[in-house]
Structure formats: C-alpha cells, structure tokens
C-alpha cells in the first residue's frame, strides 16, 4: 500500500497569465505524520493547501500534477474525496463559518452521507475538541462563539468525516497564546489518535516547530527546502530557510532575531533565476540567471540552492548595547480609566515611561492595549485620570492639545497596509505631516531624503505610492512619518504583528537603532512575549483593563510574579533552533 498522501509535480497557475503560483511541488506523507508548510506571506502556502483538495480559487487553476490519497486520485471534479478523504481547516474560522447558519447545520453538512447516527458522531467530535455538546450550544450562530471556540468548531468539522488527510491553514493565527496552546494540543492529539496525515500551514516557525515531523519551506511558490523537521530546523541549508529561522525571536533570549531586508516577491514580480537572489547574502551573478534545481542533499533532505556548500557570513544583529539608564520619567499615566459606553475597558491605569527607554505593553487580545495607547495619544477620550507630559497634564483629545505637544508624541499604527493613504505618494504623506505640525519645510527634498535614510528606505521610494511598496517598507514609511517631526515619544501599537517574521525582525532592529541614536522614548504595544525580550527594557502586563505587573525585562522572565504573567510565559511557543523541535 502506498503512502496516504502522494503529491507529484503539482503546479497551480494564474488562469489568465499562466504564471505559476505554486511551482512543481512533490512530496509524500505517512499516516500520522505532520508536514509543516512555512514561508512568508504570499509564498503560496494556502494555494498549495487548497490544491491538495483539488480546489483552485477563482483566477487560478491546477495546471498540472497529480495527487493521490491512498489509491484514490484527487481531481477538481472528483466527488467523495473532498470533505471525505481529505478535509480542510481554514485560515480564519471567523470568516469561514457561514454567519447565517447554526452550528448544528454546518456540522451536520460534514457528516459523510449514509452514516447511521450523525448526531452521535458530532457529539463525539465536539467532546474531542473540548466543546459543549448540548442542543443549546449547537443552536448557536458562529458570532456567538469566541475566537478559540470558532477555531475548534472548524477543527471539529474537519474531523467529523474521519478523513485520511487534513490540511490545516494557519489554524492558530489570531488566537492568544493560551488558546493557541490548547488548540495545538487538540490537533496533536487528534492526529495521533486517528492516525491521519496532516499538512500544517503556518508562517509562524515557532508554532510549526512544536508540531511537525517534516517541514517544507516555500519561497515565491517554489519549494526551497524540504526534509525532516529536526534536520531542517537545526541545520537549514538554504540561505532563505537559514535567515527565516534566524529571524524568529527567541523566548529564552539567547540570541536576537535578525531580519531579512526587502520583501518576498509576488508570483508576478518574481525575479528571474533564483527568486531569492535579491535578498540573499551569498548570491553570485549566476543566481540571477539560472533557476536552481531542487536537489537531495542527504536522505529525504532537499534544497534548491547550488551554493549550499558556502559558509555564509555570520549573522550579526545590532545587539542592544546596554543603555545608560537615567530614571527620568518622560511621560506618566495616572489612574486613567476608559470606557466604551457602559463597558469599562481600562481601570485606574498607572504607567511611567522612562526617558530614552522602551516600555513594552504586553497583554492578550482585548486586554485594552490599543485603548491605552490611544488614550495617551489623545485619540480616545478617557473618563478619568491624567496623562502628565513635560510637567503638564495633556488634554484628553488631540483637538485640545497644542501643536508642540502633538509633535512630541507620535503614534504608529498596527497595520501598514491601512495606515498610509493609498492615494498619496510617500513624499506627499511625509510632507503633509511635517507641514501641519512644523510649518513649511525649508528644503523638502533634503528633509525627505533624511527621513527615508533614517528608516533605511531607498530615496527613490519618495515618489512611489504605498501599493508599490512591501509591507515592511510601508511600516518604515509609517515610522518615517512619525520621525520626520522629530518626536520625543513614539507609541508603537503592534507595529510588527501584521508583518512576516523576517520583516518583523528588521523593523525591531530599526527601532533599536533609532532609540539609541535619537534618545527616543518608546511605548511598544505587543502580544508577542518573545519579541518583548528583544526590544524593551521595561514591561507592563495588562490583563482585562488592569496593569497586573510592572517590571524590568530581566526580572519578568526570571521571576514572573503574577500568575497571569507566569501563564503567558509558559504558554508561549518557544523556538530554539539549536534544540530543534521542542
């Protein structure tokens, strides 16, 4: 009997252009084995995952290749395969569950036709994913569940049919660490109990490392490295895989994450030759013209790079040199409370930002991090309390603040895809901000050049529109927009969470440099505990509207006091390539 899942030379292409989105992918998977599929956003992970079910999104088509599940071939029209032999857990269950249908209806649809007792199957699977099984619960609509519950419903739907193969597309993205841990455990258990083969898609290397047996690294639609997880994570051979792994922040704090400059190309802007060569530190001229083949280095370990033998230059990160600590407080928050209507979101918050330091504000989704940051910036009216800056109480709303105060405190938003006006060039965006707060610039050319330089953007970017830039570049523009007015305090609200790890790492490096050079005071809002260690000097932990713990970085990891903090640290997936899989 052949392996449960066999994929041979799979190609998915854009139906109009014929450009390959997923190019020539082959692999095999045994029962009970988990394959991790990693790569940056846009590398084709979802496309590949869907293709395994014989499905192509509109605008794309499966151009060639064959897929077998056991003896059965998967084609786009084969019935009785999709949803039966192979099932899918979607990237975002919130949008993948039909909002107008009850859970029961949606679960029932997954039961294979002809089953004797569908209710008992549903019952059993719900138990397995630790969800209630009563009627009342099943009569609910998706919006009546929490994000974690929605995700578990999606998992249950995939297991109801008792498939041979499951494709999981980033099933934990967007969940907080504790829920993520539970979900991962559920998946692991189910895979083992039912001996299914699983394809686990994620851009979060740390999560993948916890779960998988094999790993496949995709770059711009092509497999660049494929092999046993332990081997790939410990000794990545492809320069991209190596850099990708080095970019993952390490919870233990043994090494700093190192970013990759630039962004991953989309299939339509893919450079000739090796698609990675523009970002590669060991590329030679040949890489620009010749597309390398996937070759087997050792048994079951494949790499698509002709220069695997070369020893790469050591990765240096600008290790945060210990700053001299002066304990002057730049801004202090005193018993601030904020509520939305009757619902109080923040309660009596006290917080000090020490001058020239980076203070991290850590907490789970919904704990009120953004609300606090916005209240400081004057975007969110507070119901009580004060924010002291420069010896004066800042007015609650931006409209009442003086221009000088506005200039000194700058706010950077989470999502670089939304925070820059798409209808203006970068230059216009930067100038508009400067002009409003500091008046007409004397030499705008120079000003722009300086601002772009400070965030390591090429000067040509000035005349581009945001959609001509990658996510990382956009976030740099957003930072430049804040820096151009020469602020004293930067409030960064999750500015790296919508970016790929490789980009995240380089933004963190940038912030560190700026902090040092400009003596900036930072408030760094994040839910990523591993990242905190690499950027901040102080931490405040926020739990449902209360600051539960405030400490220095060293202290918080060594001696977390509050049980909530302890749980956060325990649940965070830790990734240490030296140890390989956790």
């Amino acid at each position: 009997m052949s392996a449960p899942l066999v994929v041979a030379n799979l190609v998915v292409a854009g139906s109009g252009t014929g450009v390959a989105i997923v190019d020539d992918v082959s692999f095999e998977l045994d029962a009970g084995q988990v394959l991790g599929l990693v790569g940056e956003s846009g590398s084709g992970k979802t496309t590949l995952g869907l293709a395994l079910l014989g499905y192509a999104r509109s605008g794309t088509l499966i151009a060639s290749g064959r897929i077998f599940i056991g003896e059965t071939e998967v084609t786009s029209s084969s019935t009785g395969v999709r949803g039966k032999l192979i099932t899918y857990i979607p990237q975002s269950p919130a949008s993948a569950l039909n909002p107008v249908l009850r859970l029961h209806t949606q679960l029932l649809e997954c039961v294979v036709a002809g089953e004797e007792n569908p209710e008992s199957i549903i019952d059993q699977v719900l138990r397995e994913v630790a969800l209630p099984t009563d009627r009342q619960f099943l009569r609910r609509y998706p919006h009546q569940l929490s994000g974690g519950q929605q995700q578990r419903i999606a998992i249950a739907m995939a297991f109801i049919a008792r498939p041979d193969v499951i494709v999981l597309d980033e099933p934990t993205t967007g969940l907080d660490v504790t829920t993520q841990r539970q979900v991962l455990e559920t998946i692991r258990r189910l895979v083992k109990d039912h001996q299914v083969s699983a394809v686990y898609i994620s851009h979060d290397v740390a999560v993948v490392a916890e779960l998988v047996d094999k790993v496949m690294v995709l770059y711009s639609g092509k497999v660049v490295e494929y092999g046993e997880a332990t081997e790939v994570f410990r000794q990545p051979k492809h320069p991209y895989a190596r850099r990708l792994i080095a970019a993952v922040p390490d919870l233990a704090g043994n090494r700093s994450p190192v970013g990759i400059l630039g962004g991953a190309p989309s299939p339509f802007t893919r450079p000739p030759g090796c698609a990675f060569h523009p970002r590669c530190d060991i590329a030679v001229d040949e890489c620009q013209t010749r597309t390398p083949e996937l070759v087997q280095l050792s048994h079951g370990h494949f790499v698509r790079c002709p220069r695997t033998g070369i020893t790469p230059p050591a990765l240096t990160s600008e290790k945060a040199a210990l700053l001299t600590r002066d304990d002057s407080v730049a801004l202090s928050v005193r018993s601030v409370s904020v509520s939305y209507g009757k619902h109080t979101v923040l309660q009596d918050i006290d917080l000090d930002l020490v001058g020239g330091q980076c203070t991290a504000l850590l907490g789970e989704s919904g704990s009120g991090k953004t609300t606090l940051a916005r209240a400081i910036a004057g975007l969110q009216p507070r119901s009580s309390g004060s924010v002291i800056f420069d010896g004066a109480d800042l007015a609650p709303g931006v409209r009442e603040r003086k221009k000088e105060q506005l200039r000194k405190i700058q706010y950077i938003f989470q999502n670089p895809y939304e925070s820059i006006n798409p209808r203006r060039t970068i230059q216009e965006t930067l100038i508009a901000s400067y002009q409003f707060l500091c008046g007409k610039p004397k030499n705008s050319q120079e000003l722009i050049a300086e601002a772009l330089d400070s965030v390591s953007l090429r000067r040509e970017s000035a005349n581009r529109y945001p959609d001509q830039l990658s996510g990382g570049e956009r976030q740099r523009v957003a930072i430049a927009r804040a820096l151009i007015v020469n602020p004293e305090i930067l409030i960064c609200d999750e500015i790296t969470s919508s970016l790929d790890v490789s980009v995240q790492a380089s933004i963190v490096e940038l912030l560190q440099r700026l902090q040092r050079e400009r003596k900036l005071t930072l408030l760094f809002v994040t839910h990523n505990i591993a990242l905190v260690r690499h950027i901040a000097q102080d931490v405040a932990i926020l739990e449902s509207g209360h600051v539960v713990e405030r400490a220095s970085i060293a202290d918080i990891f060594a001696f977390p006091k509050h049980p909530y903090t302890q749980r956060l640290i325990a649940d965070a997936p830790s990734f240490d390539p030296a140890r390989g899989v956790a």
Partner: protein, 316 residues
C-alpha cells in the same frame, strides 16, 4: 431588537408626518385655486365666487393645517374638491388598483430577477451570463414609456393582436377581474424593474461566492447546488432586499407613467388629476399615501434584513 424596531417605527411616523406637512404647505402655495381650476375657461367672477363659497376655500393656512391634521388622525382625508366625494371613497379603488398592479409587478419581477441573478452568478462568464448582461443592460437603458409603447405595438396593435392595448375595466370593479388587461401594464413595469434586480443580485452573489465560508462549504465537498441555496443565497439576500425595497418604492413613481400610457385608473391618474384640478385634499392624501408606501416598504425591508441577520436577531 424590539427596541430597534420600536425606534424604526417611531422614525417612520416622524418621516410621514414631516413629508405630509411639507406637502400640505407646498400645496397651499400653488397658484390658482380649486374653484378656478374646476371652472377652467368658464371661470367668470360670478361663478368663481359662488363655487368658492361652496368649497369653503380661503381660510388662513394654519387653521386649515390644524383641522387637516386633526381629521387625518381620525382617518378622515376630507372631501375632494373636484369630484365632491369623500377623498377616501374616491381614492380607495384607485389605490387598490395601483397596489394590485404594483404587487403583480413586484412579485413577477422579484421572481424573474432572482432567478436570472442566481443563474448568471452561478454560470458566471458563460454565454447565458453574457447574453443576460447585455439584454438587461439594454432594457435598463430604455425609458419605461418606450417599453410600454413597444409592447403595445408588439402584442396588441401592430404585430400580434393578443392582448388589449389599454385598460378599460369597468370603474369600481377590482382590477383583478380583468386579468388580460393587466398584462401589458404589469409587463412594462416588470421589464423596467427586473434588470436592476437581476444585475444587483448577480453582483452580490458573485461577491458572496468569493467569500471564505462559501469556499469552505465547497471544500466540505457539498454539491454546488447546496452551496448556492444554503450558503450563498441567504447571505446575498440582505443587500438585495434593500435594493428590492428601493425598486418597489420606485414602482410607486413609475406606475404614474405606466398608468398614463395604458389609461389605468390608479394613483398615477389621481396624481395628474388632482394637481391639474388643484384638488388639494386629494393631492395631500396622495402624498400621505406615497410617504406611507415608501416608509412601509423600507421598514419591511429593514425588518427583514434584521430578521435575516442572526447577529441582530440573537442580540438581546
């Protein structure tokens, strides 16, 4: 949700009140009075004075407004100046006729529109889709009087002689009783409305068909028919209902021209007549009717949308 519905109801009442008040005041501003309009050419000063006295026009506006509102609250629309009947007696059969026509048009066009919309969305980019797109585009571009004139020529006077060209049902007799005479007016309205519905539904459905939950339903291995009926259509109905409502509210206006073309005794005839004869009580009653119709249709659409949306329905 009850609170929401209550709020909507209250707002609707306010809107009707504002509209009717404006109409009342606006109609008072009309130059010339009913007496002159009724007498037309024969309006010699003697006769005018006599008729004016008979009609009781010429009191202060506020006084008239107050007594009008007062009567209105008690369901009394006053007496038509032109026909000297109670307004409601005069308007009731006309309103019923128009509602009959609009209801037929609404039901037929909604069914055809929905069917076409679903078919074209399901078979996107097929020849059926392209053909329907072109046809609906052209039909939507034709003014309804052109459609009406063409239909009459085609089915009644020119090519075929299948259907009556105009409505000549006995007055007072419900329009239901003369079904063949309803065909052409209804068909005209249907052709004027359906293209919008079909195009709108197609657009919304295509959007819905691109959503993650539809994709997921397909990945569950559900047949396309089930995906469409169970997953896609219910989600497309929300926005479509709003458009349906707007289109049906539009019918109230479109019916005026269609009634004129087919000599259909309905509110369109009443509107033209009452304005021409300065029959203020009738004009005002009609404005109340139109505002009520608009508000009711929209209210129903809003409620339906609310009911279709479990998020709102389940909110306590």
């Amino acid at each position: 949700m009850l609170k929401m519905i209550g709020r909507r109801l209250l707002l609707s009442v306010v809107i009707v009140w504002v509209v009717t008040s404006i109409v009342f005041l606006a109609t008072q501003a009309l130059p010339g009075d009913a007496a002159k309009a009724i007498l037309g050419r024969e309006a010699t000063p003697d006769r005018l004075a006599q008729l004016r006295q008979q009609l009781g026009t010429g009191k202060p506006v506020l006084e008239q407004y107050y007594s009008w509102i007062n009567k209105l609250v008690h369901g009394n629309f006053g007496t038509s100046l032109a026909s000297n009947q109670p307004v409601w007696t005069y308007l009731k059969p006309l309103i019923l006729n128009s509602l009959t026509l609009m209801l037929i048009a609404a039901v037929v066009s909604a069914s055809i529109g929905l069917l076409l919309g679903v078919l074209t969305a399901a078979k996107r980019d097929s020849w059926l889709d392209h053909f329907t797109t072109v046809v609906t585009l052209v039909l939507a571009a034709l003014p309804e009087f052109v459609i009406g004139v063409t239909l009459t020529w085609l089915f009644s006077t020119g090519v075929f002689h299948w259907l009556p060209a105009i409505y000549a049902g006995a007055p007072g007799q419900s329009a239901w009783r003369s079904p063949t005479q309803l065909v052409l007016p209804a068909m005209t309205l249907v052709i004027a409305v359906t293209p919008y519905l079909a195009r709108m539904l197609r657009g919304t459905l295509i959007e819905v068909l691109e959503t993650d939950y539809v994709q997921h339903a397909r990945l569950k291995g559900l047949p396309e028919r089930v995906v469409m009926v169970r997953h896609a259509i219910p989600n497309a109905l929300g926005p479509v209902i709003q458009v349906l409502a707007l289109q049906f509210a539009w019918l109230a206006g479109g019916v005026i021209i269609v009634e004129y073309l087919f000599r259909f005794p309905g509110i369109g005839t009443a509107v033209a007549n009452s304005v021409a004869t300065r029959d203020l009580p009738v004009t005002q009653a009609l404005a109340v009717f139109f505002a009520l119709f608009y508000v009711t249709v929209n209210l129903l659409a809003d409620l339906l949308t609310l009911v279709l949306n479990p998020r709102v329905r389940t909110a306590s």
